[in-house]
Structures are given as C-alpha cells and as structure tokens.
C-alpha cells in the first residue's frame, strides 16, 4: 500500500466539495445573525440595562465556558424536550422531527457566535475615545444618532480583525455540525474514509479544503480592512493625541 493514494484522494475531491456550501451557509448566516444580536448585547452591557445585563453576562459566560459540541448536543436534544413541554400547554403541535438539520445548525451556531461577537463589540465600542460621543452630543445629536453615525462606524473598524478571526473560527467550527446531522466537509470525508479505509487521504483532502477557505477569508478581511480604514490615516502614530 502506497503511503498516500493520490489518485484516490483526487477522485474524492468533488464529493467532498459538496460540503463547502453547507459550511459557508452556516458560517455566513450565523455570522450575520450573531452580528445583530452581538451588537445589541454589547449595548445592553455597556449601558448596563438592568436584568438584561445580568442575563447577558450569564449567557456569555455559559457560551464561553462550555465546548461548542456540548452546546450543539444540548440544543439538538433540548428542542424536542421544549416542544414536549410547550405543546400540551398551548395546544401546539410542534414536531422537532420536522426541523431540518440546517435550521438546527444555523440557530445553534448563531447563539454561539453572538456571545463572542458581543464581547468583541463591547471591547471595540469601549476602545473608541469618550470624546467622540461628547462631540456628538455637543453638536446636538441624540445618543442613538451618535452611536449610529459616529461610534459604531469607528468601533466596527476596530473590531474588524477580531471579527475576521471569529469568522475563520466559525468555518472551522462547522466541522462539528455532524452533531446536528449536517453533512458538511468533514462528515462527508469521514464516510468516504470509513468506506475505503483511506483515512489519511480523506482527512488530508478535508484539511486542504478548510485551509483554502480560511486563507481566502483572511485575504478578504485584509482587503476589507484596507478599504474601510481610509480615515485612519496617521491616526496610529498620533493615537496619543486623543
């Protein structure tokens, strides 16, 4: 048996590539949903909205303190339990079996990533200088206007490198989607590998596909940063001035 059967590996690439759309769908949609909720949670925490702030702290601590795979299982097995609890009380007929694996994955990954994004945005908003909001007030803006027009655009730029890392982590994390029965890159590779006893080949194929995806994301985020940071100018050098 050759070390690596390249021919076999190459032949399987198209089959494994079928997992890429699943990976990207989960990562992109979870990222966008997480962005909205993350931002809201960050604001809740910054403005210390009573009750919601404490709930947010608890939620973020739980998400960061438990493995994603456990969260996926809790969610996957928790939804039917929840439905069993709700159905008799409200006369509903919700059936967990009717929910597609993709929906499970989208919701679970969104819940997970929102917690991390909340922390990123909280840090980024706090990193904008206090004077910016004061200046917004001084020209007669409301808090909402100041946030939307002045603070958030600046915070988003500060957050961008971390958001990029988070997105790459999200892509890698989709390899756990098998827990909610989504057939993405790794799940497909695993089945082919088990069938043909070609483990090394299949997992190398999977690695290279993930690797390529991540490098592509890195490039895209670097471009995005370059484009958005036009107003930074010499700001780095003069950061101490404000």
């Amino acid at each position: 048996m050759a070390i690596i059967d390249f021919k076999f590996a190459l032949e399987q690439v198209p089959a494994v590539l079928k997992g890429v759309p699943w990976t990207l769908t989960i990562a992109i949609i979870a990222m966008i949903v997480g962005l909205l909720f993350g931002l809201l949670i960050a604001l809740v925490r910054i403005y210390k909205v009573p009750l919601l702030n404490q709930l947010s702290i608890l939620y973020i601590s739980f998400i960061r303190g438990t493995p994603l795979i456990v969260q996926l299982y809790v969610f996957f097995y928790g939804v039917p339990v929840l439905f069993d609890y709700l159905n008799p009380r409200f006369g509903w007929e919700l059936n967990a079996d009717n929910i597609s694996p993709l929906i499970y994955a989208l919701i679970a990954y969104s819940i997970n990533t929102a917690a991390y994004q909340a922390e990123i945005f909280r840090g980024a908003i706090n990193a904008t200088s206090a004077g910016q909001m004061e200046a917004a007030y001084s020209v007669g803006m409301t808090t909402a206007q100041g946030l939307y027009r002045i603070i958030l655009p600046q915070a988003f730029l500060i957050a961008l490198p971390n958001l990029g890392n988070l997105f790459i982590n999200l892509i890698k994390a989709t390899s756990l989607a098998f827990a909610v029965k989504v057939m993405e890159i790794l799940a497909i590779s695993r089945i082919i590998a088990n069938d043909g006893y070609r483990f090394l080949e299949m997992y190398l194929v999977a690695s290279i596909i993930y690797w390529a995806l991540c490098l592509a994301c890195e490039i895209i985020f670097a471009k995005l940063e370059g484009k958005m940071s036009r107003f930074e100018g010499r700001a780095d050098l003069k950061a101490s001035a404000s």
């Binding site: 200088s129 004077g131 910016q132 004061e134 200046a135 917004a136 007030y137 001084s138 020209v139 007669g140 803006m141 409301t142 206007q145 027009r149 002045i150 655009p153 600046q154 730029l157 036009r230 107003f231 930074e232 100018g233 010499r234 700001a235 003069k238 001035a241 404000s242």
Partner: protein, 250 residues
Amino acid sequence: MIELTNITKSFKKNEVLKGIDLQVKKGEVLVIVGPSGSGKTTLLRCINYLERPDEGTISVEGFSIEGKNASRKDILALRRKTAMVFQHYNLFKNKTVLENVMEGLIVAQKMKAAEARALSVDLLQKVGLSEKINDYPAQLSGGQQQRVGIARALALNPSVILFDEPTSALDPEMVGEVLAIMKKIAREGMTMVVVTHEIDFAREVADRVVFMADGVIVEQGTPDEVLAHPKHERTKQFLKRLVREPEYEI
C-alpha cells in the same frame, strides 16, 4: 442670556462645584481661569450637560432646566442651543473635515445637504482650511484640527460657544493660529465662555474674567480688575505662579 444658579457637583465624595451662580450676557466673552482642579472645566461642561449637575438650574436664552432631573428631551434642546470646542478637538474620526462641520447641521438641525455644505465650506474658508475639506482629521495637525473644531461649533449658529482649554493640547507654535480665530469670532459678537490658561488672551479679548478655585468663584470683573489688580490673596498667588512657571496641562 445664560444663567447658572446654585450649580453643585460632586465626584464620589469630592465636591467639585460648591453652588456656583453665574450670568453671561449676549455677545459677552467670559474667560474662566483658575488652577487645575478648581472645577472650571466641570462648570463649563455643566452648561451643555455633558456633566450632570447634582443641584441647580441652567438657563440658556430663556430655556431653563433643572440640573438634577432633566428629561432627555430637555437635555437635547439645551445642547442644541450650545456648541463646544474641546481640549482634544474630538473631531469625528470617521468623517472628513467637511463632514465634521456638516454633521450637526444635517443630523440635529435637519438642514438640506446642499445648504449645509455651502455653509460649511464658507466657515472652513473663514478658519483658513479650504484646501483640507476632504482630508480626515488624522491627516491634520493639532492646530488645524482645532480650527475645524471651531468651524464645527460656529456652523451650529449656537447661542453660546463653550471653549474647554482649546489650546492646552497644542504644540506651542500652533497656539497662535487658534487664538487668532477665537479673537476674530469674539469681535463678531459671538457669546463665548472660555476656560483657558492663556492669560494674554484673557487680557486682550475678555469682557469679563472669572477666577475659580476649589469649586467656588473667588472673584470676577474686567480683565484689568482681576488680572492686573486682584483683590484676593488666592488670585494673587495664582497669577504670580502663572508668570513664573506657565502651567501646561497635558
């Protein structure tokens, strides 16, 4: 036109303002001087409610609000009658020079973009920055940034402009250009309240000088009365030290 009554403010247990009463007439240039920690900046920031006073009343052009329990609407209305020039300029970093000046006009005063633009271009010409209108703040020197800050305040056509140590973050060679513009707008009749360490500016431009120390107004009067012939020991000490070793707050 501006009337502050019994303004008090504490940070934790430290009482910074101990019941200040102050009036400013229309078109008057009022300069507040005093040692650091005297409460002068806090007082200035109470006028547009960037600092919430614990007690007292703020009244600008007949619109008056209670310091302690002002509603959000009242605060916004008060801020829309005033403008501020900050020590560290606080230009919007994500906006160009022109956008910085237009921002308040479009967002807070709902002015049409074309009109706001024309007005802003005029004002930037007045502060000598016509060529920089499409630059971002980070590309400007400190003096240039502060001139944009003044244009931004002027654009709002406020009842009063509050200057919070506008030159103390500047390199010495840039102080002159900023003071020159402040003199210009003072002569045009703008009501100004200026917290500064520039005694020469106070002497030359101020209609009235207020000396503050330890959260109270120690004395006030014409520049000649307060700066040349101070009555109180505290004022004399402050001025003597200022002559010997100029105080630069960073």
